[in-house]
Symmetry: C2
Subunit: 147 residues, 2 copies
């Protein structure tokens, strides 16, 4: 599991949308890029990917923008990071049949990477953006969240 800037931006964007979810309002890519400090044109691509992934929806035009396509409690960190940064395993052979090992069945390392993958998944797949959003509103009622 390697988190790139793209994944980082995606997570922050979703979190921001989660914090605006109750209001029902749309958030523009401009506002988003300001708050999460991401280059707007790059962020647009990420948002498009998130849309195609089914996590957000959008409206174009004058008062357009983005909002979550689901309740924050039904989107996990793992969902987002897997979509934009790929699978969580540290090496490809864990979930695929492909490997550079002669006999994948006997490979003694595969089990290690599977454990690592499971441990990672156990964390990122159980944290929802509802969890994160509530954590923020507890810690910093007035302050803008730092993301």
């Amino acid at each position: 599991m390697k988190i790139t800037f793209k994944g980082d931006y995606a997570l922050k964007a979703i979190l921001d949308l989660a914090l605006h979810y109750d209001s029902g309002e749309l958030v523009t890519s401009f506002d988003l890029s300001q708050r999460i400090d991401a280059p707007i044109k790059f962020l647009e691509q990420v948002l498009l990917e998130l849309k195609k992934g089914g996590f957000i929806e959008s409206r174009r035009g004058n008062i357009g923008g983005y909002r979550l396509a689901r309740v924050p409690g039904q989107i996990t960190v793992g969902d987002i990071v897997r979509l934009v940064d790929g699978p969580s395993e540290p090496i490809a052979c864990v979930n695929k049949d492909y490997s550079n090992c002669a006999d994948i069945k006997k490979c003694i390392f595969k089990g290690i990477w599977q454990k690592v993958d499971q441990a990672t998944s156990g964390i990122i797949d159980h944290i929802t953006f509802e969890d994160l959003a509530s954590q923020i509103s507890i810690n910093q009622k007035v302050l803008s969240y730092s993301i």
Copy 2:
């Protein structure tokens, strides 16, 4: 944590040396490359890195080769993979002060990546090559280990 071919080769090389540790004999890069199925010239670079890291020692010349510089029980998977593939954290901000977040102290994601890192470390730092070697000799007395 991302395992590259370099890391993969390094782990297999160390395991092979661990299996030959009791004999006290040196293993050549040629033999190593044959058994672990790695390009010899590339493997040489990896072995050099492992030597500089203090995990193996070598002798040049006619009957030269490599052997472990320590007992297999004192080398962990984490040691090797960290040396050749870098730190185990999924994003740089976990262990460094650097991040692309405005206020790293308030960043809500940092805690997640720290947990992932700890979970990963908890696995790879507790598996030694003695463990792996004994596992192989139990499973496949006659068969050559597949790595």
